[in-house]
Structures are given as structure tokens and as C-alpha cells.
Symmetry: C2
Subunit: 462 residues, 2 copies
Amino acid sequence: MEGSGVGYLEDAAVAVRDTRIVDVGPTAALLARFAAGEIIDASHHALLPGLIDAHMHTPWAVVRGVAQDVAHWMQKGLSPYARHLHREAALAGAWLNVLEALKAGTTTMGDYATPIEGWADIFAAVGVRAVLTATINALPPGEMAGWRLGDLYPLSDEIGAQSIRAAVDFAAEWHGAENGRISVMYGPQGADMLSLDQLLHIKRLAAVDGLMIHMHVAQGDREIDQMLKRYGKRTPAFLEQIGYLDDQLLAVHLTEATDDETTQIAYSGARMVLCSGSIGIIDGIVPPAVVFRSAGGMVALGSDQAAGNNCNNIFNEMKLTALFNKIKYRDPTVLPAWEVLRMATIEGAQALGMADDIGSIRTGKKADLILVDLNALNLMPVLTEPIRNIVPNLVYAASGHEVDLVMVDGRILVRDGKVIHIDEDAVRAEVQQRAQEVAAAVKRDPQHHDMALLQAMEAGRL
Amino acid sequence: MEGSGVGYLEDAAVAVRDTRIVDVGPTAALLARFAAGEIIDASHHALLPGLIDAHMHTPWAVVRGVAQDVAHWMQKGLSPYARHLHREAALAGAWLNVLEALKAGTTTMGDYATPIEGWADIFAAVGVRAVLTATINALPPGEMAGWRLGDLYPLSDEIGAQSIRAAVDFAAEWHGAENGRISVMYGPQGADMLSLDQLLHIKRLAAVDGLMIHMHVAQGDREIDQMLKRYGKRTPAFLEQIGYLDDQLLAVHLTEATDDETTQIAYSGARMVLCSGSIGIIDGIVPPAVVFRSAGGMVALGSDQAAGNNCNNIFNEMKLTALFNKIKYRDPTVLPAWEVLRMATIEGAQALGMADDIGSIRTGKKADLILVDLNALNLMPVLTEPIRNIVPNLVYAASGHEVDLVMVDGRILVRDGKVIHIDEDAVRAEVQQRAQEVAAAVKRDPQHHDMALLQAMEAGRL
């Protein structure tokens, strides 16, 4: 991932000491140079830098698959479940999603959630690299139930202040934890979900603490409507005015950003997270990542939440990103395989401000590495000339189940496709039980009759 | 898949005798009624009808991944390889692709290829259900090398006649073979690739023999250009005129068909094959399947060839079909999960004229069944009320590797994710060797300098 392409070394080896890569080169040379405690034979495998998922909401995996194929996804699909997502259910969802992503080769997870007790501990226990963002908003949960489409959100100073305090406490506890494997960003949920004063307060905190701001930007027509009603401006112009557009901003989605707004945000140095699968399934929209990159901006990939996108797998995101944009521009040359692989690795690392440590296989970087089985039928044959087909096959044919081994910070977490130090069956049992508790509570709640999919259930179609 | 939805039975069983389903019902009732030779415990699995892939070109899997991300895919991507695809390479590709598809749950394969010796034998040996179409065209291979974009194809009466004879001989040998597990269609490659006389001749043959016609229709602007120059008509109007539009036609792609033309074809009773992944990657286009279905037409899914689409997996096609069409119409309610699952099963069976035998789990139908592991992390949790999430998870989260068991015609072909009666490693070794032979021949051929991806290789980007 050095240079403008993806690079390629045949019959090469990587030496790892403690948490870092200490050498990369021909296998014979490294075997002569080092006396390794363990030698992993990677024959017939591709060794890649671990994949980076810059935007997830792992707790939502507990209600995977209950809210697709609907209009007003948030109100008619997800929110009946949101009301009943208790803490144990959220944690069970996070456990499930972290293991799912890890087994599919994701080594860095940019998770975004309410900072409930136990959430960050999952990333610590599993051993993945995590960039955690505690959601900050000023929305009173009780009052939101009565909120009607088109009304201004009833922002609460008190809830916003509590939410900021919780995020500050969370950052103090977790930023830099686990030998730096866990870092933290500040997460104002959206420009429409906090008061102007609170947004400015968070910006000052982020500058003082040296943390990035991870924020949904122009994520839907509902947000744009709120911003126009409250400030008479669309989100990008508002963020420019309040000093948010700079290289400390990780702007997620840009679903509703015009090409001009997208270019403006890219020029400011802000980074973008593209969640192709999620926005495709929820909104039927392809966000403007091609425009953002054309303006010199750095774009990371994100899988968003399983209750929308329905899976958290960066192989899936690479493929959908390449295909959706070919369709958007009716041009098969848009976003070739090597560019989306870079977005999932080195460009993702740059967008997160972590390119010194991750995103490529280079001496001195952290040993976050994955081995992909090139003997999987769907990745065969392997050709190296005149055209090398490995990267197109990884992007267009792999699904993530070809990942045999995952190493993070020099520690092997997955071997032969299994998470070696976690009881997967216990995670399965817990998430199944907690999900059933949530579903039962939804069924008891009279408001569930409002769900869009209920009609399909009753008609025997689903 | 009976009725308008997908149906659902909990704790149910299926009894199979010889090649057919003989009962479906509550597990306890079936256990009491039958003395089974083998009982397969399907706890924590979804039992589905085997998936139907109505359009493949399996030999091309031997050059998977060498022709993506290019304009003029056929001329600049694939044709340098086509010139060197010798018989053994084609067979090795077909072996690879058949096993790849089988392991991902495809039980019926609609393959379309030059009827080389040994091709149909692969389907016979592996034991899958196959609908085989021998490609018929009048294109002289040598002369096509000098053909320039925009020129009329130099159709050869002699080659066309040979090609028809080969197809007739192939049908005589294979239609109804293997106890009916293998059937045959006639395959004029495109309206632009045969003379009018030959097209009419094939139509008469198909009527007499009672075989369907499997044909690429409006598959590209190049075809439309040829038709306008030769007949002054676009393909659909031409096919109407020569009597091709009826329920014996399986029309593949419709990439360039207008909505009016699509409706006309659907009204005629002709069936459509939608190859979402292939046409998305090659052309950046979403074919008009939604219009075709709205006009009452039956649509099957197809994976087309691995040298374009890059994998042959109906789980992939279901997901891409749902997502691409949501994007095309900017509407998340378009093609919900249950509709694309129907396209991959019962509607596919209807389109192929095989719904009496396959496409649903019903007493009397052929026992073509798959078991999908619902304990795969990406398919968990499993909820059944108030919203059942199994079908959305199969469509939006599964990748095909969750298929544990595949049965075709009452015979188990895949157990625990492994093809049990075929040496997978021998298939791997053969396809790798043959692919390298083809690639080496391409490299020696001066014409390979014309390949679009060579620049990316030379620049170190690929």
C-alpha cells in the first residue's frame, strides 16, 4: 500500500517483534536474519495489512435483519427496537459484531456508541485495535417518542451537558489504553442533535485534548431540514461557519451533500467515511466519495450498523463501493479494485490519522496483519502475469470467510478461521438470548404495530 | 416459496425417497410416519430449496480476475485471453466454477458454452442439475481478430451451419440425460451473431424439439449498433418481427432494452435472466428487471462469467440485485429480501420452465435442497417475531460459505461445506496449471499489449 498502488512481493516474509513489524523482505533473507519463536507458513495465502472499518455501531447487531426494505428506516424500522435495547443486549450485540468483523479480517474498528459500562472492555478483551467514539447528543429519549416528522428536535441543555461529561470521562479512561491499541474520538452525533453552544464546547475540548471529531454529516434529508429550520443553513455551510471544517473532523456519510459541498469539505482537510452498504440499503443512495477523493480528500470505509447494512465486513464494503460507483457513473473504470483496497487499508489509516502505525506492511508499523487463503475456490486461479488477478479477486470475489489468520498488535487472534482466545459459542448463546428478550419487549409494546415490516409478516411474505 | 411470499415452517422435516420429496411437515409427525435410512439433524439451520443460477459461462473461470475495471471489457479485457483458451483450460475452468457454485448452494446451473468434449460430463460427474446451452454463432474466429468497432460482423454461413449442427448433436446426446437431471436449450448467442436464415432455422428446430431458446438480448450498445446497421431495427423489434418473442425464449441481460421494449418482451411471455453483478461490473448498468416483473414477466438470476462478474454465487446475486435496484430507483423498498429469494428459487424455476420439479420445498418435487448454518456469526441472532429476520439475513448478510449441506436429486453432494465425492485439490491443481498455460500464451502474444490493465500493471498499481 506504499506508493500509488497496492504493491506486490512474491515469496516474501514479514518479521514481527512484540507489537511491531521489524522487517519485510525475501523469505530466505529473513529466515537467515532472524531466529523466530514461531514461523507461520503462509504458502498459497495473501498477506495483507489488517482491514480498517472506520465507522460501526456494534451494539445494533443484536437486532440484525429486522429493519430492511422499509422507508423511514429509523422511525418505522429501527426505533421500535431502540426503545427496548437494554444494556446487556447492547453488549451482546457488540460482542457478536466485533467477532464477526474480526473473522472477516477487520483489525481496526471505529465503533460509535453510547459509552455503557463494559462496551470498551470488549475491544480490550478481544484484542482488536479500536477507535471508540462515545455518542454525544442532547435528545431527550422520552420526548423523542412524541416527536413528529418535520418538528424541530426538542434539544435539552441538561442531556447535552451530561452526554458531553460522559464522553470526556470516557476519553480520560480509554484514550491510549491497552498500550495505545485503543484510542478515542469525540462524537457529536450530528449538527442537528446538539445546541450551537454544545457543538462549540466539544470543538474546544477536542482541540485541547488533541482528539479528532467523529460526526455524522449531511446524513439525511431530515438533518438538512432541521438545520435549515434552526439556522437557515445546510449542514456543510453551518459547520464551516462554526469552525468544524478542518483536519480534525472525520465526517461520516455525506449522503445529502452536493458535489460543491463535498468538495468544500474535502478542501478543508476533513476526512470522509463512506458506508456504501448501509446507505445503499437504507436510502438507495451512493454517497459522493468519488468527488471527495477527486478533491484530494481521504476516504475510509465503514460498515455502519448491522440493523441497517446487516453485516459488518470490509470485504463486502470494498465490493459494494466499487460496484455502486461504477453504476452511479455508468463507467466500469470508476474505483478499480486497487483503489478500494487502498481505501480499506492505507487511506483508511490516513483518514483516521493513524497511517504512521497501520494501513500498510512496512518496517516500524504495528503488526496488524491478515492471511487470506488463495486456495479458496472463488479466489482461484492465481495469476501474476501479464495481468495479476489477486487484488481484483480479493475485491470482487472474496467474502471474508477466506481469512485464515488475523494478527493485531503482533498477537494472533484468529487461526484457521477461529477466534482462538474467546468462546464463540458463549457469545452466540448470549446474543440469541438477549435478542429474544428485546424482540419479546417489542412485541409487548403497542407501538410495534407501527412497524413497516409487520404488514409483510402478517401477509406471510417475510 | 409457495404463495406470494417465502413461507416458513419451524421445527419441520422433509422426507426424501430416491430423487424426490415425499413429505413435508412437523418433525414429530414425519419421524412417526417414515423409517429413514438416514436422518440429517438440521437444528440451527435453514432448509431452503437449492438456488438456481440460470446463466453461467463456467469455462471462463479459468481467467478469473484479469479483466475488471476496464472499458470495452470484451475487446480490451477478455479477448486477449479468449484467443488462447484451449480445451483443457476451458474444462478446468468449468470444473472450478461448478464446484464453487455448488458449495455456495447453487443446485441448478444454466451453463452456456461451446460444446467441447467433456463439458457436459462435468455436470454429470458432479451430480448437479444442469440446463446446458451450446453456443451457436456464425462468427469466424480468425476474421474477428481484425474486426473494428462499428464494422458489421463478418457472418459466415458455413460456421453458422456447423455451429447449429453441433448444437443439435449436443441436444440429441444430452437432453434428458442422467434421469432428466440434465436438459438442454438452443443458444443463438445474439441476434447480431447469426444470419436471419439461421435464426429462423433455430426457432423451427426449437419448436419441433420442444426446447427453449436461451439467448443474449439487447446485451450491449454494440449489439444494437449491429442490428440497426443490418436490419434498421433494434433487437426487440427485430425479434418480434421474426417470431422469437414467446414463452420459449429465455432472454438474458436486456442491458440496453428501454422500459417499453422490456414491457413488450415481458408481455410476450418470454422470460428474463438478470445478471446484476456481471452487468454492474462490466457496464455500470442495472438491467430493467423491475420493469419486467411489473409487466408480469418471470425473472431468474444469473451469475454470468467469472472473467467479468468474478464469482458465481447466487447469494451474491441476490444481495446485489436488491441493492442495485434500491439505488437505481432511490427507494429502499424496491425488491425486498423475500422477492429476490423468490427470484433465486421459485421464479427462477418458472423462468426455466421447471417449476413442477424445482424451486420450492413441496411433496412431489425433486429433492434439491440446501442447509444454511444459522449459527454463522453473520446470520445471528435468529428472531421469529414480531419480525422474522431469517430471510433478510440470508439475502443481506450471507455470502454462501454458510451452506453446510447440498442435496441434488436426493443425493448429498456437499457435507460440512466439502464436496464429498470429488477431489477438490485435484481440481485446484488442474485449474492453476491450465490458467498459467493460458496466461503464458497471452504474454507471448504481441496483441496482449493492447490490454487495458497492462498500464496499471506497469505503473505498479495492480
